[in-house]
Every structure is written in C-alpha cells, then in structure tokens.
Subunit: 180 residues, 2 copies
Amino acid sequence: MDIRTLCLGILTLGEASGYEIKQSFEDHFSRFYEASFGSIYPALAKLTEEGFVTCTELPQDKRPDKKVYRITAQGRLAFIDELMKPPGRDRLRSEFIATLMFADLLPTRHLSDMLDERVRDARGAVAEWRAREQGRVTPGQRFVLGYAIAMHEAMARYIEDNRHLIEGHALLTPGAAPAG
Amino acid sequence: MDIRTLCLGILTLGEASGYEIKQSFEDHFSRFYEASFGSIYPALAKLTEEGFVTCTELPQDKRPDKKVYRITAQGRLAFIDELMKPPGRDRLRSEFIATLMFADLLPTRHLSDMLDERVRDARGAVAEWRAREQGRVTPGQRFVLGYAIAMHEAMARYIEDNRHLIEGHALLTPGAAPAG
DNA sequence: GGGTCTATATATCGGATCGAAATAGGTTTG
DNA sequence: CAAACCTATTTCGATCCGATATATAGACCC
C-alpha cells in the first residue's frame, strides 16, 4: 500500500485537490500514515496517466488555480483490489524509543524533560481525538479513532508508571531516604 | 537521528560487523526502528571516512570475510551529541490501520481474518519480549521492552474489545436474534 | 509602512532509505 | 541430494521525505 493507493482511498470519500489530500492525510491518518507533497503530486500525475482518476483544472480568483481530482470506476476497483491484499507490517521509526535505549548515557534531568514532553504530547493528542469522536464518522473511522486513543493513553500511562526505571533509583533503593 | 547515528549507538555496546548490526536492529529495535543492508553498509563506510569508527578486516574460513567495526572516542562524543537533541516525532506507517479506515468497503469475513491475525501477532510479540525481559539488560532496555509489551497488549485488547464496531452490528441491534 | 506569519496551491530536487538481487561458500533439513 | 537457509557484503532502482521555489493575499505587530 503506497501513497498512490492511499490517495485513491481518500478520493473514494469525494473529489479533492492535491493540497486537500494532504490535509486529509493529516485529518484522517495523522500518526498512522503520512505523506508529503513530494509524494502526493507525482502520485496524482501517475494515477491520472493510468486512468484511475480524472483531473479538472479549476481557475480561482484570489487563490492559485486548483486541480480537482475525481476517482474513476476503474480507480475504485483498483483500490478495492489493493485493500484486499493482506496489510504489510507496521513500520515505526521512533527516535524517542531509540534514545531511551541508551538512557544510561543521558543525564536524568534531560530524560525527565523528554518524558514530560512525551506524556504531554500523548495526552494532547488524545484530547483532540476525543473531540473528533463526537462528529459523524464511518464505523471504520470510529474504530481507528478509538485505536489511536487507546494506544496513546497506554503510552502515557506506561511512561508515568515506569519512568522511575530510568530516572534514577535513589528513591527505590532499600534504606535510602529522601533528603530534607 | 538517522541510520548512521543508530549504527554508532549499537557500536557503543561492542564491536560488530554490518551483518551483526542488522541483527542488532532486529533484536533491540524491532518494531521501533528498522534498517536495511542498503542503509547500514553505506552508513558504516561514511562513519569510517569521518573517523567515528575504525574497520578491521577479519578473514574467516568457511565463512565470507568480515569487516569488524569499532567505535572511536570521537564517535562516542558524536553519538552523545546526537542523543541529546530532542527526538523527532514518531513516524508510523500502518497499512493495517489505513485498511481499517475503509472497513466499510470490505467483506466482514475478510476483516475478521485480518483482526485475528493482528491479535495473534501482537500476543506472539508480547510472549517473545516477556522471555527476553528475564535476561540481563540495562534499565533503558528494560524500559523500552516494557513499553513494547504495554503497547502491544493495549493493541490486542483494543481490537478484541472493539472489533464488533466493524464486524457487523447484527448481534448488537435490539430485537435482532442470531439465526439457528 | 514595512516586516513577518499564515494560508492556499503546485512543482521540483537532493538525499535518505527500502527492498531485492547479485555473489559465494557452508550447513541444515526434508 | 536437492532445496532451503545462514553468513557476509555490495549495489541499484524505486519510493518517499523535507525543503525550496513560485505566486497571491489576508492577518498581525511595531
């Protein structure tokens, strides 16, 4: 499932320009799948070539011209074909986790700041998704939203519950009493 | 934090060949950060050029020759410098989630198989990590291992608890009784 | 008034990375 | 005894990201 296919998928929800597809990626797939303009525009060009989408140029005043893409019947079939393929493994690239693997090389203060920031970010994302959960979404979208919320809540909870493992052991060492 | 830096990190744990670094990625970073030979070998060449690692060719009988890499003092400093930079956002590419966004386009049977497979995979990964948890690891590694376990347990649990949202509503609709 | 920021909109390019193949001998498995 | 897999490195096309270029216009600040 490449960006080309995902663009096709977004176009099953309605016509859109490249710019709007980028926004759609941020709205619907944020944190699960991302795509840059450098992928989207060439993808749309190729999909047009292949007859999976059609393109209508739409002049706008006070705005740059827009190219509106619409999925074709052939494109719909191609998309379903792709959807039916068993999904590949998740591919995550987490600099956060990679850094924590080497936690023993970093000052505790630095680690604490990183963990605080991470928990804040996760909780913030959960709050945003909870707001969106109220809106009108398909069952699939509701499931994915709930998944995102569950994952990020688990992340924040795990960090809070286990940060002592890397933030120094003074308070856990038997016999050691906090100063003051 | 690019692959070059991650290679440097792995070399802080001891000398290794490119092949062994690939295995290390699979052991330590599996599902958090991946790297292919196509990234690792050029990375090691560049690190050697820059003086961050040294390379010793080691002829082996009954095996292809090996190039063993060792991190230098300069390399260690460069790695810490990189580690201290605030980690970038996690970047995930999940075909599984992308597919479920369009769950309404897929037959229920197909969805069920996908979800079963996913739960099986997550539970399997958790079992493997639990086994590794017993071994000798640094606090950072223990934290990351626990994180991996917590995330995948949350994933399996969420899917089990919410799969009815996309597997059809017959059993939930008031008044609807299962056939047979 | 000038400066910067943000938003809409598309195109393009360098560089990072993947995934697969090429090469080559040894070992395990059916 | 062939097929499959393990060790080990190199290389290459394809994909994708991130940044930049281009153009216009409203918002905000000093």
